[in-house]
Point group: C2
Chain length 331, copies 2
């Protein structure tokens, strides 16, 4: 089978690629070809696999050709992050809306030429919920909660969910959208997402670096680990079409932790020194954004569909340490 | 002031144009220029007014130029109807999504060049509610009810609502979207909308023509008259920006009638002969669509904002008869 990952050079995209190559099959079929697209080249270890092809460039430009290549499945992860989209409105429209639309239309063209609709797993976000400052969210946000995006990023993700549902209804693809919690621990550098601190306060201290924490220790975060999100993408693809609701979208399960609980768990795994490297440096702008985010969800539907949350934060910290070690060995 | 009506050659657009020209002002400012765009030329009586300019062509092609013209207000009514969008997916995307996006981006460019954001009144639809066959609607649909479009038309309207809200949040326009009930009595010919019968069963008998009714007499319809919807567009424009919710969208008020109640009201106004011209000829396809439509709404917010429903169906029938008479005199 032939699969495509957009954003395949990114953090989650490249982990998903690694996981797919390692298992070698999906839904009972052998993986023969895995195409990775991104603005940057994927890690060399991926590119070296004979099953992998890479296409470096803007998705908007690549999309029409991708539509002629007959994919069995597409994982659409390419996206500008929330902070980028707020800072540069056109970038957000182009990267998150126009590129998705171009990809959907390319896949539609395949079907209109007689091809089979591809399974299409779309990476959406709980940012669709906003919330609207005038409308309090329920105690636990559910799949049936009314989205009310308050960012261009959240708006674009929601719009794409609706397009995925309509293209699916029309038989142009077999869409499956997942609203991702905050992914912790992200490796690499801090980014422009307001949630960047949630990984920073673990990643930096574990690397021996002091890290400012811009929010109060009582701040809650709705979390999923890199390991679990990769499993979720694979599971989303493998589920039969009929397991998905008409909306084609679910809120993924996660766990709710306060910043204090996250730091304490890191301390239990890595010791007091790591904990002492987190410095609380309140940032009113980031606090103002983060305090509005929903942190408690009812994800009964996703759980019934077989998606899984992490069981505890210590395991997430240990996973991160292992991953960093194996990177250091590979380098 | 300078106003634009897209779809200005259509039934509601041309009535709105007539009403604006007759009153001569909007929000306390004198109407100096009214530009009407449509695929067809507007009625001659409108085009003859020295304040009117017409642009005939696809909105997608006209939009970039419109963005350079400095409108104070825009009424965006141009749209393909639900039946057309289901029959021709690309037509729907082009007419309802891409054209709206092009118009929004043209208005954004005005602001980015230093212009003032235009008031932008968008004609949306209760078709956004679907409903999803797996998720029953509440007894009364409210502004807070989760949209679940089941047609490309409904999807495209909902997507545009979200874009209007985000462009408004960013200061590129001052958007106001209204979800219209079924407009009865539409003049002219039956069209491809599944709701076409709701006007047909009044319009055709009053014109002395027999009319098949494809649905049962107990079928409910959520109705607003042409007169009231024109008033709603004007009121939507005149309201201060702060009167609108963050979502920038409201469900318009309407009245709920069964087909039987509509026909009986027509009988009271126009006599038994008119009633006898309605022939019940069940059409399973149309019944299947219409029976899923929500017919009861809670529109407290719109009512508090000053939008008004019709008081009774007899007045709607009388209005229609008056309008047809004045057309006949003009011809």
């Amino acid at each position: 089978m032939k699969l495509l990952i957009t954003g395949g050079g990114g953090f989650i995209g490249s982990r998903l690629a690694r996981a797919l190559l390692d298992r070698g099959h999906l839904g009972g079929r052998t993986l023969e070809r895995l195409v990775l697209t991104d603005q940057v080249a994927p890690p060399e270890a991926l590119a070296a696999d004979p099953r992998v092809e890479t296409r470096v460039g803007p998705l908007l430009a690549l999309a029409p050709t991708l539509g002629t290549e007959g994919y069995d499945g597409v994982f659409h992860l390419a996206s500008a992050v929330s902070g980028e989209c707020e800072a540069d409105f056109e970038l957000g429209l182009r990267s998150n809306l126009d590129s998705t639309r171009a990809l959907l239309d390319a896949l539609r063209a395949t079907v209109q030429r007689g091809g089979k609709p591809a399974r299409f797993v779309f990476s959406s976000s709980v940012a669709v919920f906003g919330p609207d400052p005038a409308v309090p969210l329920p105690a636990r946000v559910a799949d049936t909660t009314l989205p009310a995006p308050q960012t261009s990023y959240g708006t674009q993700k929601l719009v794409c969910e609706h397009l995925v549902a309509d293209y699916t209804r029309k038989g142009f693809l077999d869409g499956r959208s997942m609203r991702l919690p905050t992914i912790v621990v992200r490796p690499g550098k801090p980014n422009l997402a307001a949630s960047s601190f949630a990984s920073g306060i673990i990643r930096e201290p574990l690397a021996g670096v002091e890290c400012p924490c811009p929010v109060a220790e009582s701040t809650g975060v709705w979390i999923l680990s890199p390991r679990r999100v990769v499993e979720a993408f694979i599971h989303a693809h493998e589920l039969p079409s009929g397991a998905w609701p008409t909306t084609r979208v679910v809120n993924l399960p996660g766990i709710t932790l306060t910043v204090r609980e996250m730091i304490d768990a890191m301390g239990r795994v890595a010791g007091r020194d790591a904990v002492s490297r987190v410095k609380f440096v309140p940032d009113a702008r980031i606090q103002g954004i983060v305090k509005t985010w929903p942190v408690r969800f009812c994800t009964d539907r996703a759980l019934a569909m077989g998606f899984k949350a992490d069981t505890d934060f210590e395991s997430i910290v240990r996973d991160h340490i292992e991953n960093e070690k194996s990177k250091a060995v590979a380098a």
